[in-house]
Symmetry: C2
Subunit: 106 residues, 2 copies
């Protein structure tokens, strides 16, 4: 059974959090998870054509930055955004990033 | 005479802006420029020991992200933060990043 490592938010440095958000695909995944509480890895993918290993690396980096939590649910891996914890660690940051992403997409 | 390229802020994508800020040295330079209006490249450096080529690359990336403007003033290159333009393009983003940096440094 795969085990995932999730950092304590106080151990996440600001530059790692920004790096995790500084990619259009990862940001699309974060935005999707901000809208839908829990998503399988496939459902969280930014597009259908993304290679599995690339998707896996993006999820790993999002976990390392304290942005998501991945847990096994039956045969699926389910991801959720650690919004409240991330917001407590980096007040206003995620909302500012997501608002700017929405403005660009509009 | 060196010539520097400065993008129009509307041409700067969000991921490039985040990438530029996702480095402790570049963020230290941005924070310093947010406090002091105009700084030479040396004065804007995050530390004395940083190699000139590294400093130059950091400044180049900050320019590409629309964060700073570099202009010749006599024999010096003077940098300033494009705060108002950056804020207009990415509302709330720079303030959220700088506030979180200050909180971490405190």
């Amino acid at each position: 059974m795969p085990r995932f490592t999730h950092p304590r938010l106080e151990d996440v440095p600001l530059d790692l959090a920004l790096h995790a958000l500084a990619d259009p695909n990862r940001l699309a995944m974060v935005a999707r998870l901000a809208e839908t509480e829990r998503l399988s890895c496939t459902a969280a993918a930014p597009c259908d054509s993304i290679p599995k290993s690339t998707l896996s690396n993006h999820l790993k980096l999002l976990r390392a930055a304290g942005l998501i939590e991945t847990a096994q649910a039956g045969r699926e891996m389910i991801n959720r955004l650690r919004k409240a914890e991330f917001d407590a660690r980096f007040p206003g940051l995620l909302d500012a990033v997501l608002a700017n992403r929405s403005a660009d997409a509009a």
